[in-house]
């Protein structure tokens, strides 16, 4: 089955999830409603709900808690994006104007808080205290990770472990939680729940590394935002981290960071990072995470579900945009 085929098998579930999200976010305030609906309609890969649904197939995917978990995690993700755009001062996301650009920062803050509160309320439909402990801990760690990201902006002396911990919290945790919660709410065994958590964690790491590579090699049209945005914002991702080990490149990057943003030769610095071997290095780390994810799948029951997860992992870990 192809990725499109996997999405087709989940079409009904995804449609239902979209509908639930749209109904949940209805309010009597036009702007708030519009901001929430715009976010919903901006779409995205819906990778978290897909992973919840697919992981649930190791147990009872029709358990009512499964879709509640899927809706919760997608709403948490959406809420975090609205606030991230304020943090990054971003006017575009997936090629569309952000909430803060369409309205202002205040609307973005309220919209994010509103959606986040909805996500948690929806989760209360799941009566498993352990599931709440997992979700709340993940949210706390994600927010701590975001703070760490700011801490390490423009820090050219950071280590690989800083980067890995950052992307774990920023991206991998929620993806790992998607798989874990899908299995948990579907009543899977502890062993399967644990293995799916690690599967999600490894593909989450791979997903973010690819994202960081694409920020250098993708086009503005593919990315829906200007290429090289990470570097320009002082966010040192894996390709740059590697490139910083080369004195000439390091000097150029540091000089860009130290100079006024408008005057800096960002294009030159981006080119140097691309030519440094940093992209290839990041790809090799990505391959390792992908291999770990695929390895975990070998220890799960071999069926169509495992096969679909394998395809999802490869799709995410090798995507071009």
């Amino acid at each position: 089955m192809t990725i499109a085929g996997i999405y087709r098998t989940q079409k009904r579930n995804l449609k239902e999830i979209e509908q639930v999200m749209e109904n949940l976010l209805k309010t009597n305030h036009t702007t708030l409603h519009q901001a929430a609906v715009d976010l919903l309609r901006a779409g995205g890969k819906r990778i978290r709900p897909i992973l919840v649904m697919l992981s649930a197939e190791f147990g009872n995917p029709n358990h009512e808690d499964v879709k509640k978990a899927a809706v919760t995690l997608e709403l948490i993700h959406m809420a975090s994006l609205v606030h991230d755009d304020v943090v990054d001062n971003a006017n575009l996301r997936r090629g569309k104007k952000t909430v803060k650009a369409t309205w202002d920062n205040r609307v973005a803050m309220y919209t994010g808080d509103y959606i986040f509160a909805h996500s948690i309320e929806h989760m209360t439909g799941v009566h498993l205290p352990y599931a709440h402990q997992l979700v709340s801990k993940a949210i706390r760690d994600i927010s701590l990770g975001e703070i760490e990201q700011i801490r390490h902006l423009y820090n050219v002396d950071q280590h690989l472990r800083h980067y890995l911990l950052r992307i774990k919290r920023k991206t991998a945790l929620l993806i790992a939680l998607s798989c874990q919660l899908g299995a948990l709410t579907a009543g899977c065994s502890h062993d399967i729940v644990r293995k799916l958590y690690y599967f999600g964690y490894f593909i989450g790491m791979s997903y973010q590394i690819i994202d960081d590579i694409l920020d250098f090699v993708g086009t503005e049209k593919q990315l829906g935002k200007p290429a090289g945005s990470d570097l320009k914002q002082g966010n040192i991702t894996l390709p740059t981290l590697f490139a910083l080990s080369i004195p000439d490149v390091r000097q150029r990057v540091v000089s860009c960071f130290e100079s006024n943003n408008e005057q800096a030769d960002w294009d030159g610095a981006i080119q140097l990072v691309k030519q440094s071997g940093g992209i290839e290095y990041a790809e090799s780390i990505n391959e390792r995470y992908l291999a770990k994810a695929l390895n975990i799948l070998k220890s799960l029951p071999q069926n169509q579900v495992t096969e679909n997860l394998r395809k999802i992992a490869k799709y995410l870990g090798k995507r071009k945009y």
Partner: protein, 271 residues
């Protein structure tokens, strides 16, 4: 342990819970409203069946602090350097506090309380949108009505859920009065942090006259004071012990608390 000691203890635990060394380097310490801590504490005491009151008070207060922190986000101006970093960290610290309230309640395994608080947060944000982005013609009374709700929404909703409805008007009055007092200071320019003022922004965004607003704030404060003198304080003896304590605290300064009592010198009720 005396109530005030327990409350001060919770106050310090909240400070400890939200403590983050990196945030401390760039942001002012988040304010913990001791009046709200006390109100929440007494509400749970009054209800009587919550064992870990401390944890519940902490979670609701931290949720409130998360929302209050996001009030500090400046609008669209392009910031650079330290100011940009502070804005970024303000967004993220608010998110961090918001995550903590859920974390604390999840540890208590109280899913019902998580539901109540998250519903109240949704309503509060809708209310804020109505306040700042009024969809129809809005007058000063409209803004006052919303401001009264915004100031104590989480606590009022919690009181309603706990079935302690006879406290809600008193609580809403007090925190509204406190907010009006603060707003008057903003408008009098006796405070510099005007970006956290609600009414200051309304004056900037609408054609409502500032003097008119100040005049109406004074009137509203007097109305509340008169209402308390006439209706609430005379009945204090017949109210529950905890509500009586709360009213006493609201109307008198308690030296155990480090806050500057906003009511000091403004309301002088004789028992």
């Amino acid at each position: 342990m005396p109530i005030q000691d327990e409350v001060v203890q919770i106050y310090h635990k909240i400070q400890k819970k939200v403590n983050h060394p990196y945030l401390n380097r760039y942001l002012p310490k988040p304010a913990v409203d001791i009046d709200k801590v006390l109100t929440l504490f007494l509400l749970f005491k009054q209800h009587g069946s919550y064992k870990n009151i401390e944890q519940y008070v902490m979670s609701v207060m931290i949720a409130q602090m998360g929302l209050d922190t996001h009030e500090k986000i400046t609008k669209n101006e392009k910031l650079k350097g330290l100011e940009l970093k502070q804005r970024q960290l303000t967004v993220l610290s608010g998110d961090f506090y918001s995550s903590l309230y859920y974390y604390i309640l999840a540890e208590q395994k109280d899913i019902q309380m998580v539901k109540w608080i998250s519903q109240a947060i949704q309503e509060l944000n809708i209310n804020k949108m109505h306040f700042f982005y009024a969809e129809n013609d809005a007058n000063i009374d409209y803004y006052f009505d919303h401001l009264r709700q915004i100031e104590s929404h989480l606590i009022i909703k919690l009181a309603e859920r706990l079935g302690i409805n006879d406290w809600t008007d008193i609580i809403a009055d007090f925190f509204f009065l406190k907010r009006l007092h603060l707003e008057r200071d903003y408008l009098d320019h006796t405070r510099e942090d005007t970006h956290t003022s609600y009414i200051y922004h309304i004056i900037q965004d609408t054609d409502i006259d500032k003097r008119k607003f100040i005049e109406q704030i004074e009137n509203k404060m007097n109305q509340i004071r008169n209402k308390w003198s006439m209706d609430i304080l005379p009945k204090k003896q017949i109210l529950s012990k905890h509500l009586g304590y709360l009213i006493d605290h609201f109307t008198k300064e308690s030296p155990s608390f480090t806050r500057t009592t906003l009511l000091k010198g403004r309301i002088n009720y004789a028992d």
